[in-house]
Point group: C2
Chain length 110, copies 2
């Protein structure tokens, strides 16, 4: 059917999956990597850097904004995108906690 049965899963399971899904495309990984390196940039920079059409980059930016991992501030005619470090930390913590169940439960520290 192509439609995910979100209602049979917990909030947390859906949340983890939603985050991972957004990270599940190399263009979005490339955008984040570039932002890590360059701190902030505008859409046009990413079009040049990555080599996908402007509407395609814009669409990927939208999906990254959906999980708030990036934020954009209007600056003249362009929009300055950067990582939201706080959200990034939360996402990192969420994934680490999920993927390190034994560290989190049995050991206490890794």
């Amino acid at each position: 059917m192509g439609i995910t049965k979100t209602e049979i899963f917990t909030e947390e399971q859906n949340r983890i999956a939603r985050i991972a899904k957004v990270l599940g495309h190399p263009a979005r990984i490339a955008i984040l990597e570039y932002l890590f390196k360059i701190q902030s940039c505008i859409c046009g920079d990413l079009v040049n850097e990555i080599g996908l059409a402007q509407p395609t980059i814009s669409q990927h930016l939208k999906e990254l904004k959906n999980i708030n991992i990036i934020k954009g501030t209007i600056e003249g005619t362009s929009i300055c995108y950067c990582i939201d470090q706080e959200v990034l930390n939360e996402i990192q913590a969420t994934l680490t906690k999920f993927l390190s169940p034994f560290c989190a439960r049995e050991k206490k520290s890794c």
Copy 2:
């Protein structure tokens, strides 16, 4: 077009995206959570636990096997699935490294 242009991205970018994509469905998150909790189980257990049809669970297991995060060993008529702890650790390290670029580069330890 529905087809990802993998050729314009680096191996590492594609690898991270491939891992995240597999984690990008709540059923697969639920399967992993169950395996974390229960250590090992058979397909039928997951069908009961999660509430999706057997072919659907089987398909999700296949995708998890594609990134080797789980492995299955034949045991009579059933197949015993469990987490591959070594691969899990690698995946966790890969995602943490990607999502903590400043920790990895500037600080050295987090």
